[in-house]
């Protein structure tokens, strides 16, 4: 049953991704269809995750692949907060293809099927995995906002004549939203990592590459927050830093997974 719910979620996210490309070419109908694709796809994926949780009677997203599926759901959930509003539709151009690709990878890794029993407690998994993934979802959204900022700023500088063809939030709004998203996400990551470290010390385990990369990611996003709040950073410089931070999120989520989850 849970397996079956994967396909509507994937198809609807796929429809949304295609729709947002259509929105770039001709704003209007394609964008509206894409937004409905996101909403319905999110509902299908929510049902998928609920069915997984009910079947496994616990927290079934402790593996690398299943956590990827939860990560996609968190990213889309965060996007839905703004994505339904017309000026933010173009964010979907970054978020939805990413969601589709990650969901396919999660499926290929067995993340949408039945989970093997974890030797960790449910509480630990919820707090550690849940908080880290929520923070990464926030960073992903902040990176998408920053990407939109860089693109829109470039348009404002080089081709103002066509600037009003597409409804995009003002630069100041994008900048502010990215900051706010990171300001929420950094504490979540801090807490999630701290819980993991306490557990690591208690069990006498050793640091692995994923923990080291996560620590670097945490440092970069803390630096982003510090530079923005105390150093007066804003605009393009801050957007590039957010994009660099997102590269680290990608590395942590995709490039260094296996050993840590084993």
């Amino acid at each position: 049953m849970a397996e079956l719910l994967f396909w509507p979620a994937l198809l609807l996210y796929g429809e949304a991704a295609v729709g947002y490309f259509g929105e770039v070419r001709r704003p209007g109908r394609a964008g509206r269809a894409a937004t409905w694709g996101v909403r319905l796809g999110w509902l299908a994926q929510t049902a998928l995750l609920a069915a997984q949780a009910a079947r496994d009677d616990g927290f079934p997203w402790g593996t690398w692949a299943s956590s990827l599926s939860l990560f996609v759901w968190l990213v889309v959930s965060a996007y839905l907060i703004w994505g339904c509003r017309r000026p933010y539709r173009l964010l979907g151009l970054v978020v939805m293809p990413l969601a589709v690709a990650l969901l396919v990878i999660a499926r290929a890794g067995g993340g949408t099927g039945s989970a093997s029993a974890s030797h960790y407690s449910n509480l630990f998994l919820v707090v550690h995995v849940g908080l880290v993934l929520a923070a990464f979802a926030g960073f992903t959204l902040a990176a998408a906002l920053s990407g939109l900022y860089v693109w829109q700023e470039r348009r404002l500088k080089t081709s103002p004549a066509t600037i009003l063809r597409r409804q995009v939030p003002a630069l100041a709004t994008l900048d502010e939203l990215a900051l706010r998203t990171v300001a929420w996400s950094v504490p979540l990551l801090t807490l999630g990592v701290a819980v993991g470290l306490v557990r690591l010390v208690a069990r006498g385990d050793r640091l692995d590459a994923l923990i080291a990369a996560t620590a670097v990611t945490w440092l970069v996003w803390c630096a982003y927050l510090g530079l923005r709040l105390l150093g007066g950073w804003a605009g393009r410089r801050a957007a590039y830093l957010a994009l660099a931070g997102f590269v680290l999120v990608v590395v942590v989520r995709l490039a260094l997974p296996a050993a840590h989850f084993a």
Partner: protein
Amino acid sequence: MIRLVLVGTSHHHAPIELREQVALDRDAAQALAARLAEGGREAACLSTCNRTELYVAADDAEQAERDAVAALASLEPDVEPALYRLHDRAAALHLFRVAAGLDSLVPGEGEILGQVRVAHELGAIGPVLDRVFRQALHAGRKVRAETAIGQSPASVSAAAAALAEQVFGSLAGRSILLLGAGKVSEQAARNLRSRGAEISLVANSKTERERIHERLATVDVVIASTNAPGLVLEAATVVEGLRGRKGRRLVLVDLAVPRDLDPAIGELDGCYLYDIDDLEQIVVETLSLRRREAERAEAIVAAEAEKFHEWHASLDVVPAIASLRARAEEIREAELQKAEALLGRLDESQRRAVDAVTAQIVNKLLHLPTVRMKQAAVAADGVLYAETVRHLFGLDEDER
């Protein structure tokens, strides 16, 4: 039947020299409408910088048209060849297009809707003009709500404000620095102020301009339009001013030719520089967008004009329908009275039931003829149907 007559001229038909001779202020427009309405007619005058139009509703359309032409010709005899004359459906459609901004120089401009409202308020209004003006205002609002015809800037000053909004979002509380005080820069500043921005300084003299870098640390928008032969603000000066801004964005609008602002400013981080060419390109782009939206707006306006036509045409048959219903009600009441002896034995609720049933029978019998007569009125057979009904039911004999 009361006919609707329009006589007027606009920027499509008359040059400014002619239009200004027949342009009327509010008092004159009100007085002219009152004069035209004498003798039981209705009249309204719509006078703007682009048009002067007289709307008259009267039984005698030819006489009403002659009077309206004479009224405008009395202001300027040469205007007569430039006058257009429209009746009924065409007159209503024209007013709806005007209210929607489709007949304006800049399609979709918003000011005209207020001017139509004023004409309605100042006119000598009766049922026909009230209906047509209300429906025109409705059509104008609907077009603006359902299309994007009025959403994009149609002037250089509005384009400057739109660009600033693309950078800052809301302009409320943003401060403006004016370099030079030309007419165009004043318009741009007015546009920004209407969106909540405030003018913090007007630097007109050379001395004031020399200390401009101090002000650059605090302002959000700079509008330049001096007559200076060379650059007034160099990139190096802006770099100096940016030091105190802590990453805050700065929009610079150069309306002067030759340019006042160093083009290199546009390369600086956080600075958004636009010259007159950029703004004019936005206006050109906007106008083509508005023209595309105008096609959708025309469909909305045509549908509204059709509704008005149906209502107006139904005026032909309304008196006959009213007479027919009155006659039927009279017969029903008379028959109930005749049956009083029988009905007297009924209790109150039974009497009410009989009353309701007979009323229902009358309504059901008359429903279809009423609908058919209104349909016939729209198809121009209304008068014939009305006469037939009067003849068949002896309505004229009753009135006699």
